[in-house]
């Protein structure tokens, strides 16, 4: 009998070790996250005690080579890990996304061998937490409009000044990958820097008024003439393609992660409507409820098939960033819709954090917006299929 949470039996397409990765992370989330997720979310705290546990499990930089502390996971296994983390909470998945796909990936992809050896093993071990400073208070969808500037010092290093906003893990990070404009040619003026957060002039402020993603630390970064040596510059990154390549990795993880949040909401909706009685029968026995449950199963199945295909393309190096854009756009929105449906099906109970759907729905408002809004991804794909730039 097909399972509601995997109606097309997509798991039969995963390799045995990919299923094992999924099962191990699933068990971790069931044991360590689900019992407390509602409380952590209410309190607006990220459970830092989980960081060493996630590191021991291998959740940070898991696709990187072993020499840098990675596990050399396949793209599908990486996606399944993100899916299971987000079954717990989008904030938990965001932590792993930023550490792995943004901070560690940036250093791995664009860093020198010395930078890789200096940072990656400690980041994989969870001893160093990283964040990624691209977005600014006045530059979100248009990152090229950033105001942060890096200028050469007399000693041959760099002096960085500017502000970054909506930075996941900003206030708990020991290192920040900061993107700034240099005085070079406009087309390739953007450069990346690996900045220790205890550098003089570096400060952060937590954004505490969020009604979404409350388990995640979101911050502003302030750089007031922060000086770093030339060795802190990521030598491989020139122009916007540097940070955008990292975002493609993170968005790939989001296309998978959102499946987890959606499945969590479906599971709760099925359990609740199957036992909640009204007018002498479980509400799952009514046509209105069944129509909505089937709608959730339908969209979830499509997400699972799409994500697996993305994984196959990623594996052979044939994945385009526009394909990732389309999946991120569709999956964040589908998961948000599913969470809202589940919230409604749970009635009054659905608005509490005693159940998951309201928390997931609120989180997914962020997921729908961050790492490229629905609209930005629409325009990326629109440009790709028409050849016309409509940004």
């Amino acid at each position: 009998m097909p399972k509601p949470g995997d109606y097309y039996d997509v798991e039969a397409l995963y390799l045995p070790e990919e299923r094992q990765v999924r099962d191990v992370v699933r068990r971790f989330v069931a044991d360590r996250v689900l019992p407390n997720a509602g409380r952590w979310w209410q309190e607006g705290t990220f459970p830092m005690e989980l960081v060493p546990e996630m590191a021991r499990l291998g959740c940070f930089g898991p696709t990187l080579p072993e020499q840098y502390g990675g596990a050399e996971l396949s793209p599908v296994a990486y996606g399944l890990m993100m899916q299971e983390l987000e079954y717990g909470d989008s904030g938990l998945r965001s932590f792993a996304s930023v550490q792995s796909s943004l901070a560690m990936y940036a250093i791995y992809r664009w860093g020198s061998e010395e930078q890789r050896r200096q940072w990656l093993p400690r980041m994989a071990a969870g001893e160093v937490i990283g964040c990624f400073g691209l977005t600014e208070p006045d530059a979100g969808s248009d990152p090229g409009g950033m105001q942060t500037r890096a200028v050469r010092t007399a000693e041959g290093g760099w002096r960085i000044t500017g502000a970054k906003r909506w930075i996941t893990n900003g206030s708990v990070a020991q290192v920040a990958v900061v993107w700034a404009k240099t005085s070079g040619e406009p087309a390739d003026a953007i450069r990346g820097f690996v900045v220790p957060t205890d550098a003089p002039g570096f400060s952060t402020a937590m954004i505490k008024t969020k009604a979404s993603m409350r388990m995640s630390v979101t911050s502003e970064l302030f750089l007031d003439q922060v000086e770093v040596p030339e060795a802190a510059r990521l030598p491989g990154a020139r122009g916007l393609s540097g940070p955008l390549s990292c975002l493609t990795q993170a968005r790939y993880g989001i296309a998978w992660g959102t499946i987890g949040a959606a499945r969590a909401c479906l599971d709760e909706a099925l359990a609740y409507t199957g036992t909640r009685m009204a007018f002498g029968r479980p509400i799952a026995a009514t046509q209105l409820v069944q129509e909505r449950l089937v709608g959730m199963v339908s969209r979830l199945g499509a997400m699972q098939l799409t994500a697996h295909r993305l994984g196959q393309l990623h594996q052979v190096g044939a994945l385009s960033h526009q394909q990732v854009s389309l999946a991120k756009r569709d999956h964040a929105r589908a998961a948000l819709d599913i969470a809202r449906e589940a919230r409604e099906l749970l009635g009054g109970n659905g608005i509490t954090t005693d159940y998951g759907p309201m928390r997931h729905a609120a989180n997914l408002e962020t997921v729908d917006t961050y790492e490229g809004t629905y609209e930005v991804h629409t325009l990326a794909v629109g440009r790709d299929i028409t050849g016309h730039n409509a940004f």
């Binding site: 045995p16 070790e17 094992q20 191990v24 021991r56 499990l57 291998g58 959740c59 072993e66």
Partner: protein
């Protein structure tokens, strides 16, 4: 120390069991197969001993193609290598506990110098709890089952074992080599980590056919002494009785029912 852990693949405990048409076997389609939970305690204990005393942990399993995934799961926990006696799809299902124990012992006999054989105290599929005792008897080694605690004196080659009894524990001492059956509570099995899951793919799983062991499934089946005649599912739970109406009357009726029908008052 050279430690063998006998592992079995079983249906996930959440599986809803359905009987096959013959009534003497279960439907295996759609089952999620997992490592027997008691075997996880056995593997964990073996890994701890290896790490404390050096040596190696070898998994030994008998089963069809699908068990490779379970073996890899044990390797991902940290076992060093595995011996997999491959069960052909037809024929061997007829073996009894003794026949299957003979297969495992023949696999162990391919190598020398085992210090310890660990096994889950029972498998959660048939709950027979036969493998440990039968393997010990065939090897002519001492055994202790339902093990809750273990101390190894490697130099004296002695084991101090705490066994769980109903409402008590028992301390026994035995020489090595021996067969020990792990009980829940012996330890906390580790999660396989993601790097170890990937490394497990490269670990040695040596495939052995029954013929390589000088055995054949048909004769083992013919020699069986225990035959499964049939399975029966537990009877469906009767409809619950809901008492309605005046609370005082309902309470009186409840007392009557507890007395007359449930016979607990």
């Amino acid at each position: 120390m050279k430690i063998a852990v006998l592992v079995k693949q079983v249906p996930d405990t959440a599986t809803r069991i359905a009987l096959a048409a013959d009534g003497a076997s279960i439907q295996t389609s759609g089952i999620k197969w997992v490592l027997n939970p008691y075997d996880e305690f056995a593997i964990e204990e073996a890994l701890k001993l290896r790490d404390a005393h050096t040596g190696e942990v070898v998994l030994v399993s008998f089963g069809p193609d699908r068990v490779e995934e379970t073996i890899r799961q044990g390797l991902a926990m940290g076992a060093d290598r595995a011996i997999w006696v491959k069960e052909e799809p037809s024929g061997s299902a007829e073996m009894d506990y003794l026949g299957r124990a003979q297969v495992l012992v023949a696999a162990l006999a391919q190598e020398a110098e085992w210090d310890l054989v660990l096994v889950g105290k029972q498998a959660v599929d048939d709950d027979a709890a036969q493998t440990g005792p039968l393997v010990a008897a065939l090897l002519n080694w001492p055994q202790a089952m339902v093990v809750l605690g273990l101390e190894v004196d490697a130099r004296a080659r002695r084991l101090k074992v705490i066994r769980e009894l109903e409402g008590a524990t028992e301390r026994v001492e035995l020489p090595m080599p021996a067969v020990l059956g792990a009980q829940r509570g012996l330890n906390v099995p580790r999660y396989p980590t993601l790097p170890n899951i990937m490394k497990a793919k490269r670990k040695e799983v040596r495939q052995v056919a029954l013929a390589d062991l000088g055995l054949d499934a048909a004769s083992l089946a013919d020699d069986r002494r225990v035959v499964v005649e049939g399975y029966q599912l537990p009877p469906p739970r009767p409809e619950p009785k809901v008492l309605t109406g005046d609370p005082a009357e309902a309470a009186a009726e409840l007392v009557q029912l507890l007395h007359r029908e449930a016979q607990i008052l």
